[in-house]
């Protein structure tokens, strides 16, 4: 039993030219397959244009925002809930971190509740309960001088403090710059 592998090893012939060339040919076929897979991947992968979802969006001036502590405002076109909390404004990506359903603001309970699996989040996007793995994702938010385009505050994923900003400052949300929420503890 034990000497069988040795016998095999003895019988094994050294690699000859044809075998080497054939192996090289097979390897190159393998690389070709990889090439085709890569090209196929790139071909099938969608590309986003600027200005569409994924670009920077103006949501109005500071004075347009709902007062602090009021229910969050819905911006359906850019998939954002803009929440004005005591710490400042946050732009929450309106897709539940669980399985991609759109959560809604529940006014009675004062929190976001997802209709699919019941995950709940505070107005700031913090995880309360449910199957979601983490707090809500946030987009970078900044305040810009409407005349000069000078950035007055931000961009920041966290709350953007509104105190001290001129009331005509433009609030911009960069929907291409998403920060994942903190995992639930």
């Amino acid at each position: 039993m034990t000497d069988k592998p040795d016998q095999l090893a003895e019988k094994r012939l050294p690699i000859n030219r044809r075998e080497f060339l054939n192996l090289a040919w097979l390897a190159s076929l393998g690389f070709l397959t990889l090439d085709i897979a890569g090209v196929g991947y790139l071909f099938a992968m969608p590309i986003f244009k600027e200005g569409e979802f994924g670009g920077v969006v103006n949501v109005g001036t500071v004075s347009d925002l709902p007062p602090a502590g009021s229910p969050p405002a819905n911006y359906p076109k850019v998939k954002v809930w803009l929440s004005n909390t005591d710490q400042g404004a946050v732009a929450l990506y309106k897709v539940c971190t669980h399985l991609g359903c759109l959560y809604n603001w529940n006014n009675q309970e004062g929190k976001f509740i997802c209709p699919c699996h019941g995950s709940q989040f505070t107005a700031e996007g913090e995880y309360i309960q449910g199957p979601a793995p983490r707090s809500l994702d946030k987009f970078a938010i900044s305040a810009v001088n409407p005349q000069t385009g000078e950035v007055l505050a931000g961009p920041t994923p966290g709350p953007l403090p509104l105190d001290g900003l001129p009331s005509d400052a433009l609030i911009q949300i960069d929907t291409g710059d998403k920060t994942q929420g903190a995992p639930k503890s």
Binding site: Y41, A44, M45, P46, F48, F53, G54, P76, K79, H98, L99, G100, C101, L102, Y103, N104, N106, Q108, E109, C114, P115, C116, H117, G118, Q120, Q129, G130, P131, P133
Partner: protein, 533 residues
Amino acid sequence: MLKSLNFQDLRKKAGSAIDHRVRIITAGMGLDELRAVVRGDPPTEKPNPRYKVHTTSFLFHIRPRYYEKGSTILSHTFRLGFFTAFFFFLELFTGLILMVYYTPSPGAAYQSILELESNVFFGQLMRDMHRLGAEAMVIFTALHMLRTYLTGSYKKDRSFTWLTGVILLGITLGLSFSGYLLPWDQLAYWAVTIGTSMAEAAPIFGEQVNLLLRGAPDIGAGGLLRFYLGHVVLFPLLAVLVISIHYYKVSREHGISLPAKYEEGNVSAEVKKNAKSRLDFIPDLLSHEVFLTTLGLLAVVAGIVALGYSAPLESHANPQQTPLDTKAPWYFWWLQGMLKLGDKSVMGIILPTILVLVLLAVPYIDRNPHRSLFKRPWAVSIGILSVILLIVLSYMGLPTYGIEMPAATRIIQDVAPEEGPGPLYEVPFDQLQPGVYAVSENPPDELCPQIDFGCPVFTEVFHGYNDDVIHASTAEGLEPYQQLPNAEAVMVVEDWQNDLRKVTMRITWDDVESGESTTYEKHVFIHRNSGGE
């Protein structure tokens, strides 16, 4: 000259010419042989011309020459594999017809389904058959697999056949799931959103997979086209390829397994010999298949016409609004149940992947050579446990399990769901008498005494609503979110327009935490033509 026109001779010549042509067309069987087949006589020539057909005809080449008699016992196979294939071909056929009217674009898809259901002869029947066939194909694939597992038919020669079968299970689920999106209604849109989000849970490449599937961050025109092409081209091609491999193994290599008792049981040599005797494809198996095919068609049509199965169609897809109680297709409920149990990437991707790998490797893991149920206690108990686990997990995947929906929302959703059928929508329009109906401890037995025959259906629906509110208001031991302290509730029916009534359900209660009076209400509009019969 006259001699060569001998009538007998001419008849013989014509007869043999016709016989020759028939032999070419049937690929081996002459007129006498055909007659013998119809009469149930044994083959007329040697070698057996019925076997010659299997060598010379392409279509018969991929069919078996014979199966062993013992393996065709109904209680051994239940014809589950046959019906899986039957439903696949039914899907190909009805799918091809549906493609004539279907347009895969978000602007036109839903419209084309409506058109198909209301303005095409047998359009609704075709769609119902396609949908019912799809559900049945998933069920029969699973049952076929369970049967193969329990009879130990995956062992030895059949291990590779089992492996292709597991791949076919995946392809079947892919076919079914990719078709789910096509009607472009709320059911389709959100079930597929949830389904593709599960893919996103995969570590590292999850987001890329999701983008490749959806064609954009959200499902849109690109995603619909991708799912459509997957449904009508990619998956059917894969299915035909793998089914061919799977079936060829069975029909030409190892046949259907014999029941274990004939192989290893304590039976006489004569019984064994009889079990191994041949049952020829022509004519026995062939006529049995024709019979099963018509039986299957009858069952599908009866399921639709007599039992009232109909393919669901909800309102037009709205990417801005997720309806309450959204769930994945039923054959993924177990996955949803698992997702409720823990981390998305462990439960949604890693565990299912391990599961699939184990399933693929079953013949290589299970080295027990026996096939009888009683000689494989471990394999059988693991199999039964997995089935039970699957059912429990599926139950946990339901939206009613483990989701803390506030009581008022739950109660009204149960009476009149945002999407799909619900008790209120089944109420005949004339029973929906305008009025204000208040919830109380003792609701009236008959809501509309002013009508001769009363309104039994509406009364029943209202009693359900009434009892739910009273239960939430008075029952002990409920979770805080299930309670409605001091609840007052009404159901108001108003005449809104000609043949249109508005139903308002309003529940007012004291919030459990703050004690403040809180109200939840919902309006539903019901048209004479939209409700029950």
